[in-house]
């Protein structure tokens, strides 16, 4: 809610103060300051996966980047877009126009991500998107001011969907959140299924946000007699869907494909309900020494939880941005979003979240993705010990090939 109060007070104060403010000196001081805005869901269904944890991750990145030693100040702002695209673009505009923000990080919820995606192009600023999932950001809508960091709908379809199809799940029915993200995830998974000789028997779309009872949709999925029921939703919606699917005995005859589920969702469901589910992520705290190192740094500010891939993505994105900005000089980094993004693309990435990686011409950040299976309560050795690694998809195969994305930045 910080931004709401800021907006109100700031808006009221700005008009009479306009003539008196010593703008010149404020600007002069600001020249050495990079401003990062973390725009995310602070109060809704996705809060636990990003929210305050994303802000903490960005602050950690600022600390780890060592820019303070190079006489560069970094200010981190936070905003709650409440999963509403109009609120998201309003905050983005105010941040750019009034607060001198240079880069917006996170932007959960695909509809909000697409809204901010438009604003950063118009203002020549930057969006480093971690939590928004729609692969359209690097598809037809792609431009040189956005980098899509952590994962996307194509990667989820390819990894989780691919594993399901390989295991014999050739007929599908989708339960889809009725907005940009759900549509993109259903489309990408459906394409994947048909390309591999399977069939999509149907789908039903539930309103977002605000749906709590999924039994009607689950029943329609049962009646479709599809072998796989794909959940193209996220957060509390997926948690409720999985919980109620177990209640209705859906998993006796059909398989449940949770196309987007993160570690906090598993925690919320409990292993009794979640055990055996297959899911894909690009970061899990217990993968290797580096991921554990990052988790140790962040968990203190996460209210006892482990960082999610969304939060890890915010860390990684902020770190790489600061590296590039320090490299090219603050003044130049502030002057042009596209130039900074071009510089970021030219530099290899390396951090504790995803290891070594790179950024493609279309704005797609590349790193491996992992297919996990949720452990049984007996296999889990302690709190947050939830995943067994099933398969690692190498960075080159994890994401949609650039030639298929029809991104206008890519010249063939």
């Amino acid at each position: 809610m910080t931004i709401d109060r800021r907006t109100l007070l700031g808006g009221a104060a700005a008009l009479p103060a306009l003539g008196m403010m010593p703008w010149g000196s404020a600007r002069a001081q600001a020249n050495n300051t990079l401003r990062i805005g973390v725009l995310t869901d602070m109060s809704g269904t996705y809060r636990d996966g990003c929210g305050p944890g994303s802000v903490a991750a960005v602050r950690q990145a600022v600390q780890d980047s060592g820019v303070a030693g190079r006489n560069i100040q970094v200010e981190v702002l936070q905003g709650d877009h409440q999963n509403k695209p109009d609120v998201a673009s309003t905050i983005a505009r105010q941040w750019f126009d009034r607060d001198g923000v240079d880069v917006i990080i996170d932007v959960a919820t695909s509809s909000c991500a697409l809204a901010v995606h438009g604003v950063v192009k118009e203002k020549n600023k930057i969006m480093l998107n971690s939590t928004g999932a729609t692969a359209d950001l690097t598809g037809p809508a792609c431009h040189g001011n956005t980098i899509h960091w952590t994962y996307d709908t194509w990667m989820l379809a390819n990894s989780t969907g691919g594993a399901m199809v390989k295991a014999g799940g050739d007929t599908w029915y989708f339960i889809t959140a009725d907005y940009a993200f759900g549509h993109a995830l259903e489309r990408d998974t459906g394409n994947f299924v048909t390309k591999n000789g399977g069939r999509v028997l149907g789908s039903t779309r539930h309103p977002f946000p605000g749906t709590t009872d999924f039994s009607s949709f689950l029943l329609q999925a049962q009646q479709s007699r599809a072998k796989v029921v794909g959940l193209a939703n996220a957060g509390v919606d997926t948690i409720n869907s999985v919980k109620q699917a177990a209640e209705f005995g859906l998993t006796r005859r059909q398989k449940l494909a949770v196309l987007l589920m993160i570690v906090t969702d598993v925690h919320s469901l409990g292993l009794n309900t979640a055990q055996g589910l297959s899911l894909s992520e690009t970061y899990y705290w217990d993968l290797n020494d580096r991921t554990r190192n990052l988790a140790n740094k962040l968990k203190g500010s996460l209210n006892g939880a482990m960082p999610t891939m969304w939060q890890a993505g915010c860390y990684s994105a902020a770190l790489h941005y600061l590296k590039a900005a320090a490299d090219m000089g603050v003044a130049q980094a502030k002057a042009s979003g596209t130039e900074t993004v071009t510089r970021m693309k030219a530099m290899p990435t390396d951090d504790d979240a995803f290891g070594a990686g790179s950024i493609r011409q279309d704005g797609r950040k590349l790193h491996p993705s992992y297919l996990f299976e949720v452990k049984t309560p007996g296999e889990s050795k302690g709190p947050w010990d939830y995943y067994k690694l099933v398969r690692t998809v190498p960075a080159e195969e994890a994401f949609r090939p650039m030639s298929e994305g029809s991104c206008p930045l890519v010249r063939t």
Binding site: D48, T211, S215, Q223, G235, E247, S268
Partner: protein, 295 residues
């Protein structure tokens, strides 16, 4: 033609059953609202937050005190009801002389604060709460659908509570006092009835009903701070359609709208969140006092 009709019927029959389950929650929640509005003239916007508290208290009782579901079913409404007493005594009772709007704003503010506190403490994605052993296991096979035992229990319990509440208010001496106090409080007080205490306890009872619905909901939905705000707007629509303050109206409308919503989820799922409000608009235009309200 006949085949298609049969197919439609086969598709819709389960939705009617599920609609009844959701209707049970609508009925139970709108019942509490109707009791509070009918007797206190307060539009209790904190009802959703109190529903959520009911579920959370059940979770706390289980995880912190080892008290299982059946104990929580009794204890949680009492605990949350006691919280209601504190709210009523310290804040809400000061607003009875003012316009409805003040009560609405106060309770709305309280709802936001309560939800915010729970969100800070427990996060947004929720906590697991398993149904009791005796109601788990294989779902009942009704031939046209599989129905979990727990959902059957929810409908039965909600229906019984609705009937009991209606009987208490319409058929007992206590109910008569209550109804009389709404009409003319000073006169009832003159007969030696402690009206302020009665009002406080009525508010507590309404809050207790919300908490009871919360405990019933805990095993079905994820126990999360936002669970009440998803319901409350729909429930207000139910109360308005049924007629503000009408007990029977809110119960019948609750179950009825659950059915309508269930059928919409098959015919045009995208509209399932809006259909109730469309009905509300039509009812308000045709009968401003609601279907069962007295103008």
């Amino acid at each position: 033609m006949l085949e298609e009709l049969l197919f439609q019927l086969e598709m819709s029959a389960p939705q009617v059953v599920l609609g009844l389950v959701n209707g049970a929650f609508y009925a139970l929640l709108s019942l509490g609202l109707a009791v509070i509005f009918g007797m206190l003239n307060v539009i209790n916007f904190a009802h959703g937050a109190q529903f959520m508290m009911g579920a959370f208290v059940a979770w706390m009782l289980l995880n912190w005190a080892g008290i299982p579901y059946w104990g929580a079913l009794i204890l949680s409404p009492i605990i949350v009801g006691a919280f209601g007493v504190i709210l009523e005594r310290t804040m809400i009772s000061r607003l009875y002389k003012l316009d409805h709007l003040y009560g609405l704003l106060l309770t709305f503010g309280l709802a936001l604060i309560i939800e915010g506190l729970f969100r800070n403490q427990f996060g947004s994605s929720g906590l697991p709460y398993a149904p009791p052993e005796s109601l788990t296991g294989a779902p009942l096979d009704l031939g046209f659908m599989m129905l979990p035992k727990y959902r059957v229990w929810v409908v039965v319990a909600a229906f019984a509570v609705c009937i009991a509440t209606w009987l208490i208010i319409e058929k007992t001496r206590l109910g008569a006092y209550l109804r009389a106090a709404t009409e003319n409080a000073p006169l009832v007080q003159a007969f030696g009835v402690n009206v302020p205490r009665m009002v406080t306890l009525t508010y507590a009872a309404g809050v207790g009903l919300a908490a009871l619905a919360g405990v019933l909901a805990a095993p079905i939905y994820s126990v999360n701070p936002g669970m009440g705000s998803n319901f409350i707007i729909v429930v207000f629509a139910v109360v308005v359609i049924g007629g503000m303050g009408s007990i029977l109206g809110s119960v019948i409308t609750g179950f009825g709208l659950g059915l309508v919503e269930g059928l919409t989820k098959v015919i045009y799922p995208e509209a399932s969140a809006t259909v109730i409000f469309v009905i509300m608009a039509i009812v308000l235009l045709a009968r401003p006092a609601g279907l069962f309200g007295r103008a």
